[in-house]
Amino acid sequence: YGSTDKLGEQLAERRVLFMGPPGSGKTSILSVVFEDTVAYDTLGMMPTQQQAAYQMVAGITIYDFPGIDYYSETQYNPPNPAIYEGDYTSLVFVIDSQGDFQNSLATLFSVIRTAQAVNPQLPINIFINKVDSLSEELKQDVHQDMQQQVWKTMRYENLNSAYVQFFLTTIFHDDIREALSRVVQRLVPNHSSLETILNSFCSKSSLDKVFLFDVTTKIYLAMDSSPTDPQIFRFAFETLKAMDDVSQLCIEYLPPSDDGMMSQKVTFDLEGSIRVFVYQVNSYLSLLCVGSTQVIRQKSLLEFNGSKVAKAIRQILPS
């Protein structure tokens, strides 16, 4: 009954639950992505005692839970199973790739058993974290090994493995934002309409790729459905970072009491062929378009299409 009382505080309808053994990197990941903490500054971080919440756009909230250790009975207070309910709930389970696998897996399965009892379709995203010190080869081995073990046990225990996904992550690399984007995308309201709009924008303006980004966390909420080279994601993140650096210089020229909607347009030119165009949708969302120089040279057409798309997105995703 003790834990039921604790759930008195309502969780958001669209939510991501960050769980895993102590020290696997949950809080580090979230503070790097949401609070712009430098990865190195997480080294002295204290263990999480209290559940913490990070708000994102579109009402999505990410909850960081204290570490769970299956084998230590002391002070482990399992959360109320009701938190796993709902069509817009997603679980991220963070495992230290250099920690005790058996222990981590035992904890993972105890969570899955409870969760699937109330929500058999809950997406289960396993972040194999701290891969920064592993060689490329070792990374693949760890990935394979983990996947095999998880599937085997799930089959054996008759658990549903259809919604399980694996990600290799580290706080030292922007891939962590891509992994989070993939988790969060499924929770975005009207996601399929957004994708349709971006597809049509992409083809009408002959762009190579279009992303809808949450500018503060640099997590994308949607993108057009053309196949993407993973390099393009990384490049898109880097472009947004560079945009932040550059805009930082002019922060003093913004009026203090502005809503942040300043119709900003940013163009990055790369030698030869590539242009990136960032079009502001509202104070926290931007469209990032990648195209060839010729296409984006017809800037007025692009801006015209961009403004219409931005308007449609504002209607679909009210702030």
């Binding site: 430098v38 190195y40 500054d41 002295g44 030292f172 390099q231 393009i232 990384r234 490049f235 880097e238 472009t239 970072k241 560079a242 945009m243 932040d244 650096d245 550059v246 805009s247 930082q248 210089l249 002019c250 020229y253 913004l254 009026p255 300043m262 119709s263 900003q264 347009k265 940013v266 163009t267 990055f268 030119d269 790369l270 030698e271 030869g272 062929s273 590539i274 502001q280």
Partner: protein, 305 residues
């Protein structure tokens, strides 16, 4: 403007114990290396020489002196004249995590003693490095201050400038911009012309960057109180973006930001520089600013070849 174009060669020596971070900073500033890449560096064998062209006229002859004992002994004995002769700038890198501060200072004293003999007019900079290992800003300040006091007492003849640095943030660019600023031969002329350009084009701020390193060469702002430090994040930001562009098989060229309140351009300018122009006057169309940049280009090309 004769005489300005005679190229100058200047010797710059980087000294410090092994593992202090000398080679890391050299790669970060003068090549397209990221901070992460430096973890793969091995100890430098003896002295690594490199020649870097800066702003067309200035050739920096960089001596990165490997800091292992066997080499240090050699520098201070047989090689002393070779190492410490004709030095324009000595950069001494202190690893703030050093376990033996006293022996570190002793080595530093030995270096300066030799410098006093062979290059008495050299300029000395001390970098207190790996500042990222100290989390709190106040503590950082205190640490640099304590080094500054200790070093001032030790090196009366050279009066070194002391900077706290880390390869993980803009502080490294800040220190190196200051170092290089003092070396560019015709800086006053460039500064004067840059501020004329700013007035003529109704811009609010104009900054000149060296093209390869993206170190700030000089700047001018309508508000005279703008500190040089303001631009250090950009040096670091553009450099890391340049690295990112490599992953899509391209090279960074320029960026343009415009919104209701300001417009900003960062563009290639002369053969050896990039220019940044910020305009806050809503009457000035971005296209006009762009045209002004183009018009000024040939003039500055003559100035800073």
């Amino acid at each position: 403007m004769n005489g300005l174009s005679i190229s100058t060669k200047k010797k710059l020596v980087i000294m410090g114990r092994s593992g202090a971070g000398k080679t890391s900073m050299r790669w970060l500033i003068f090549s397209n290396y990221t901070a992460n890449d430096t973890r793969r560096l091995g100890a430098t064998i003896d002295v690594e020489h490199s020649m870097v062209n800066f702003m067309g006229d200035l050739n920096l002859n960089i001596w990165d002196c490997g800091g292992q004992h066997k080499y240090l002994d050699n520098y201070l004995n047989e090689q002393r004249e070779n190492i410490f002769g004709n030095v324009e700038v000595l950069i001494y890198v202190f690893d703030l995590e050093t376990t033996n501060k006293e022996s570190e200072y002793q080595l530093y004293d030995d270096c300066l003693r030799n410098l006093a003999v062979f290059s008495p007019t050299a300029k000395v900079y001390c970098l207190v490095h790996k500042m990222d290992k100290i989390p709190e800003p106040e503590q950082k300040e205190l640490t640099v201050e304590s080094y500054r006091r200790a070093l001032a007492k030790r090196s009366e003849m050279f009066q070194p400038d002391v900077f706290g640095t880390s390869i993980w943030d803009h502080t490294l660019y800040r220190a190196w911009s200051r170092i290089v600023y003092k070396l560019v031969p015709n800086m006053e002329i460039i500064e004067r012309h840059l501020s004329n350009f700013r007035r003529l084009s109704d811009a609010t701020e104009v900054v000149l960057f060296e093209r390869e390193t993206f170190l700030v060469v000089c700047y001018t702002a309508a508000d005279a109180d703008v500190p040089l430090d303001k631009y250090m994040h950009i040096s670091q930001g553009i450099k890391s973006y340049r690295n990112a562009c490599v992953h899509v098989q391209s090279r960074f060229q320029s960026v343009e930001v415009s919104n209701k309140f300001y417009s900003m351009f960062i563009e290639p300018f002369t053969k050896s520089t990039y220019i940044l122009v910020i305009t806050t006057d809503p009457e000035v169309e971005p296209a006009v600013t762009k045209a002004n940049i183009t018009a000024a280009r040939p003039h500055f090309s003559d100035l800073a070849r």
